[in-house]
């Protein structure tokens, strides 16, 4: 399973960008890098992206506290489930309803 180590690399990168203070990392630069990362993840092959999404839920247990929450929410914050269901309007509607309910 190559997805697990790749998910760890991505997770470490996301945790760094999201949790580093403004004094060390420009917040606008961090957001911009995350936007680029999200676009690259959406561009991945759907099967591998599916494995990655499932891997994030697995490796989240390796983190604690706020970092664990960040890793667990990677798929949600990058709209990865929506990217996987891009051709399924019913699934998209369901995901939208779940997102609204979560907010």
């Amino acid at each position: 399973m190559i997805a697990i180590p790749v998910a760890r690399i991505i997770a470490r990168f996301v945790v760094f960008a999201d949790l580093t203070g403004e004094d060390l990392l420009d917040p606008d630069v961090a957001v911009e890098m995350m936007e680029v990362l999200g676009a690259q993840l959406e561009a991945l092959e759907k099967g591998f992206l599916r494995e990655l999404v499932d891997a994030f839920a697995v490796i989240a247990a390796e983190y604690s506290g706020e970092a664990q929450e960040v890793v667990r929410n990677i798929a949600h914050s990058f709209y990865l489930e929506e990217a996987l269901a891009a051709d399924d309007p019913v699934r998209l509607a369901e995901l939208e309803a779940l997102r609204d309910a979560r907010d």
Partner: protein
Amino acid sequence: MVQISGSSERNAFSRWLRTGKVPSARGPDGLELKFNPWHDPADGRFTFAGAGRREGSSEAHAPSARNDRAPSAGNRDTSRTSTPPKAEVPRARPLAGNDRKSVERRSAKAQSTRIPGLRPDDQPNPVAEFVGGVGQGLYDVGEETVAGVRAALTTNPVTTVRDAGRGIASMIDTAIAAEDTPARVQISCAADAATNASARDIGRATGSVAGNVALAVAPGAALSKVSALRSLRIARPRTTYDPPQIGWVKETLKPDEPWTAYNDSATGARPGQAPTLMRTMPDGSKRPVKFDGRQGEYVIDRKWGVRDAPHARAQLLRQSQVLAQHRLIGTWEVPTPVQRAKAVKLLKKMKVTNIKVRVIKP
């Protein structure tokens, strides 16, 4: 009643001719003294001019248009342009509108006190009285209008054209707005008192109503345009602000990536640099907020992808705040409608209204 010698009368009349003013007569206690020659013979009480009997040094006089306009030597408050002398008793009920000089002042009640057995030579000519009354009513309306315009032009502390126009418009609007009520009241009162009112009273009411209607209807279009100047009252001078100080910082993205090219192609962007606005923090310190371009009052931030995460939401709030501080509007430019839908939803969720979203294809 004040008895004044013939010499005093002549002096007062001469002074009135020269100055238009008559000095007030004062009693020993300093109180102002007035003279009203009109009395009701039945009970001796004062009446309005033209009602009852006129008493004086000579025989009783019939009321006429002339003695209505000309000052009496004893009437100390009368000027050449003033209205007929006001009766003291009985006091007329005030009108609902602005026209205090309407026929009601010589109300039906006052007219009802007229003695039926008055001598025929005391009765005025009805036709002459009616014509005189019409003229007087028109005169009153015109006088009020001219006086109002003059006051607006001469008494305003700031004599700019705008303020003058505002004063004129206010006065004319008041006249137009009051036109209905006085006319209705006057007609109603005239109808009630028709049986008792004199020909002069009816003529005056007719003239007053005709004058008000002519003032409101005939030049209506022009007046409405002048009246529109009243809207200037709520117009405030637009505050001018200094243009926002745009700073530029170096961007660290790899230059040959598609998202880098997308960001650099924003309107007003500089390759390898990002425009920034300085955000004033609550403690007074300033921190830059990055964007990608600027077009007029719109600051552009291009987003290759939209993310719904705490950092992204914080950036959204930072941008909204700095835009509000600089009185600017933000625009997010995204590459696809899917990203636009995400952005719109995120903005709505965060209740940000000064950032718009549009699709700009790479």
